[in-house]
Symmetry: C2
Subunit: 229 residues, 2 copies
């Protein structure tokens, strides 16, 4: 194991949230936290299970997802390193509202939830910071959900492509971390239409596409489709 991760105080992956904790409090987290390595495809937790830990993504990529009432999977969000995961439901419910599955080999830290609650109770600055985070994550999900639902299918595909490029990979050229079917689950489309529109974008010279590999050739046109769609 990368031993810079054994100690939360010096951990270079430490969340900004923890800046508000005292060295003493960080030590407590350090000694109780568990660092876990998971492989692509592994399910880290399942909706309905009781919450015991605060989950923090150190490296890799994961998805939050849940079954809809027809038994189909829906992807609620994709989390990237340094994101807190499942912050949403952490303080309002006893069970996870979403399942978490690794999209790539990933490293996660689990912090006991009671320890987090204790620090919220005794450390006001930390409490405010946690609230800020919860609000921001929720706002983001709500905003994205509205954005997706207001767009036509072309706009949705343009949105995920530009989001992957900007927010996750920081490059115009990347490998899709999810299948066409999963893209559909993320932006509420059938896999057929995901494929159709990706092919159309390729035909129109907007992107290169071969298997999972994507290269954005005409970013400004893609953004236009995203914004008008």
């Amino acid at each position: 194991m990368d031993n810079r991760m054994e100690n939360c105080i010096t951990c270079k992956y430490k969340s900004q949230l923890f800046e508000k904790l005292s060295e003493e409090q960080l030590k407590e987290i350090s000694s109780s936290k568990k660092t876990v390595f998971v492989s692509k495809g592994d399910m880290i937790c399942r909706e309905g299970e009781s919450i015991t830990s605060f989950v923090y993504l150190v490296q890799g990529l994961i998805k939050l997802h849940k079954m809809d009432r027809f038994g189909r999977d829906q992807i609620v969000s994709i989390a990237k390193p340094l994101d807190f995961v499942g912050l949403l439901t952490l303080f309002s419910d006893k069970t996870y509202k979403y399942s978490i599955t690794a999209l790539q080999d990933s490293t996660l830290c689990f912090v006991d939830i009671e320890l987090m609650k204790k620090f919220v109770t005794i450390n006001g600055a930390f409490a405010l910071e946690v609230m800020k985070n919860i609000s921001a994550v929720s706002d983001d999900i709500i905003k994205k959900t509205y954005a997706i639902n207001s767009k036509n299918l072309r706009g949705r595909i343009a949105l995920v492509l530009s989001d992957f490029a900007d927010s996750i990979f920081g490059s115009y050229s990347f490998d899709l971390p999810i299948s066409r079917k999963e893209i559909g689950e993320l932006i509420d489309m059938t896999p057929e239409n995901v494929i159709r529109i990706l092919s159309e974008f390729r035909r129109d010279g907007l992107i290169n596409l071969k298997g999972k590999s994507v290269e954005i050739l005409n970013k400004s046109m893609l953004l236009k489709i995203r914004d008008l769609g």
Copy 2:
């Protein structure tokens, strides 16, 4: 003014949230809070304005809404008495993300946001309670948004009707607090289709409908349409 509302300590409309505050802290809120009466149609705050207060609905009915990118209004949620309003964005942003407009004559309390933050900082139990509330409100909005988007138009209308009956009015017989156009803004439909399906429900004997007045005649059928739609 109803003088039971002048003092937060004895206020019978007091939120459960405030149970966690000491009498001393409640007194502080009591002396700084402002109680405001607004008329149907009044806009209480506008998206983009800077946040100065924590808004609490004492009596009446209000809507949270925002402009979409085409300039059309979208209703994000309808709040009823004893609900905190705009809890969502309160700690993550400097400006309101949503506008608030009264659907009925309403009474609201405004508590200075800095005072709330102070109590979050110094009162751990209160902080946890606030977090629980924020999470619950967010979860609820996310859940409802997904629910609506997964339903066909008939299911959506059945959902609002049963929600109004159960959650807001507690009766099978009530007056719609919003126009057909606003129902459309709430569940993402054109006003034409809202009307069409309401008329269809009336034709099929599911509801009585005359102007704003609604009576649910066949609740079980309505719920079936909601759940299958």
